[in-house]
């Protein structure tokens, strides 16, 4: 098992594949939020976790943090720091989803689409999905040898 992990941590192609996949997911997830900040603000409100004066600023800024994190992962600019930022965001999303799961609050996660009919995705499904991306994100963070396709490491 340890050998398999060590092999993964030095496999340049695997690191590149994971980094590009994670980057693509973040870019994709950011687009609909950038296109419809008003709807995304309502989704943040739906989480019932942040004070009202923070909601609009979060709806404006967060999608661009996702976008730049994704682009930097794809382009290989600061790959390790970008992956850390990606995992910090995934961690925040998982905490937010978990809190609402615990208190039985139904909401639209707003992860990949802004659904005007108030679609409520399966919270467990969301948590598992974020956890999988989080584990993927560990590879570019812990990777130590030279990486493929990086502009600035």
């Amino acid at each position: 098992m340890n050998t398999a992990i060590e092999n993964a941590m030095t496999n340049k192609k695997l690191e590149c594949l994971v980094r590009w996949t994670l980057g693509g997911v973040f870019v994709y997830a950011s687009i609909h939020k950038i296109l419809d900040p008003s709807e995304f603000a309502k989704i943040i409100y739906g989480y019932q976790l942040v004070p009202g004066y923070v909601i609009n600023l979060s709806a404006i800024i967060l999608p661009f943090v996702e976008l730049f994190t994704g682009l930097f992962l794809l382009l290989g600019i600061y790959p390790r720091s970008s992956a850390i930022l990606a995992n910090v965001m995934l961690g925040i999303f998982m905490v937010a989803i978990s809190i609402n799961l615990i208190r039985g609050h139904e909401f639209d996660c707003g992860c990949f689409s802004v659904n005007k009919n108030g679609h409520t995705a399966s919270n467990i499904e969301l948590l598992i999905r974020d956890a999988i991306w989080f584990v993927f994100g560990l590879l570019p963070i812990l990777f130590r040898t030279e990486r493929l396709f990086v502009i600035r490491s």
Partner: protein, 169 residues
């Protein structure tokens, strides 16, 4: 440079870049929103609000009893902005369905049945967290109706008060 300091510097650069782009794009985009929204249900409809928007409440009915008083006059028409499924599951008695997300498909039929443009229309949806009644009121006003008001507490508050409802289409 120690790894931690370097990581923090790089993350800070990404964040600064993202914040500058976010504020710039929001300022220039026609879809941009205000830096602060209205998220207190006790103050009325919750919404992000467009840039430079002056939130007006002069067309809102903010008390369910006021909406009921208008209902009792028999001279107003309630218009349900929610989708047809929610409408058939229960709506204000006598209300017309005009789903805001399928407005164009339904409007021709609606205006054929309600050609008087000075008829008082009261739009509603699912309460203060729902913007559809405001959107519908804007559409109806743009299409020529001159007396359109919005019952912001919508169907849930009406039903909770035990006021007349009906089911089906």
């Amino acid at each position: 440079m120690p790894l931690l300091a370097r990581t923090l510097r790089e993350i800070s650069q990404i964040l600064v870049l993202a914040i500058l782009f976010a504020l710039g794009v929001n300022a220039m985009s026609p879809r941009g929103i205000a830096l602060m929204g209205q998220w207190d249900v006790s103050e009325g409809l919750v919404r992000a609000g467009a840039k430079n928007e002056v939130m007006t409440h002069d067309r809102e009915i903010t008390r369910v009893q006021d909406a009921y008083a208008l209902f009792q006059t028999g001279s107003v028409l309630f218009v349900d902005a929610r989708d047809e499924t929610l409408y058939s599951e229960g709506h204000i008695k006598g209300a017309e369905s005009l789903p805001v997300y399928d407005y164009d498909a339904h409007f021709e039929n609606f205006i054929a049945r309600h050609p008087r443009m000075d008829q008082t229309l009261i739009t509603y949806c699912s309460g203060r967290e729902c913007e559809d009644s405001h959107t519908l009121a804007t559409y109806l006003t743009d299409d020529g109706y001159t007396k359109v008001v919005i019952f912001i507490d919508g169907y849930p508050a009406w039903q909770k008060e035990g006021f007349p409802v009906e089911y089906g289409h």
